[in-house]
Symmetry: C2
Amino acid sequence: MKVELVSNILDANTAIAEQNRQLFARKGVFVLNLMSAPGAGKTTILEKTIETLGDQLRVGVVEGDICTTRDAERIAAHGIPVVQINTDGACHLDANMILRSVQNLPLNELDLLVIENVGNLVCPAEFDLGEDLKAMVISVTEGNDKPTKYPLMFRESRAILVNKLDLQPYTDFSLDVLGKDLAELNPQAKVFPVSAKTGEGIAEWCQWLVDTVMVKNQSPK
Amino acid sequence: MKVELVSNILDANTAIAEQNRQLFARKGVFVLNLMSAPGAGKTTILEKTIETLGDQLRVGVVEGDICTTRDAERIAAHGIPVVQINTDGACHLDANMILRSVQNLPLNELDLLVIENVGNLVCPAEFDLGEDLKAMVISVTEGNDKPTKYPLMFRESRAILVNKLDLQPYTDFSLDVLGKDLAELNPQAKVFPVSAKTGEGIAEWCQWLVDTVMVKNQSPK
């Protein structure tokens, strides 16, 4: 009973996600679903990414939070289109929230839509939003045990940003250990060690993102 | 439909939580539900707490994780009774998981049962487990915006441990700002600034915990 319920919810979500995917393809916009635990630094990374991309890509953002419009305000300060979803307690974004929110974005004028998911290392990874790319952030202060303890998100993400490198000297986090765990869980994942604070590694991440978007967004608008 | 569903699940959970609460009262064991985002340091704080309590309280632990037995192994190394719950993807513990797992613990011989919840700043706060006390950990590296962005857990917790104080000089986290947000959300909350790494503040937290347990556990075994 419980299992069937969950599967129905996920089936309904998958159907709407497919609808989103077709909409994004028609509009020629590449969609990135950015996930992490709370406080890993998604919004700061996104701000640095927007600055670094400059006019290479026209970026829009959907901000997912349980409440407040703080993150959307931070993004709006960069002068790009943003909508805020407040989930009102729900622990993840779903495809229907995305379908409704993107009505308020000028999709025809975007190359890249970034969906910043609710800060949660568990549930967001289960819900297809119709995105082209799932990426996640893990910060070095969270510890090396996270990939084995929360494997789904690490398995589903094509890119993994390891943030707060500036704090690494004060922690026992090891990139080698992360690499070994990912060799088991997700050997294809691209790993980007970054510090959103100092800017280290952001250029490499942005270059990869531009290349990935360009490969997909061939269709003229 | 969706709302009714959630409310049914929560109603069913509340009924079992009440059953747990009566069981714990009969056994004279005080139950602490310890919550946080992933990587905030719950397990390390718990290890330091066990060491500091020494023989002041007889402690048992329920470890909640999506998968792996890593945390239970860390706790078992301290020579105290522990059971591991693997939620197999679920993002929180519920009352039924607790009811089943405590069958494997010598409740008659415990003063304090600590339930370490799944690392998640959202969902665990919604589920009553039958505990006497909800406490949470926020680490300074997670940032000052967490109470307003994830208010439920901050509202529900009687004690809030602010961990990784040793890293505070390298972040812009402010205890004053936290205090102001809590004045709105939860003015009664006891705040304990700690560093599980250096041990700073752990004695104060343990003393408060012993006092709180003693007030409740009057009944002879």
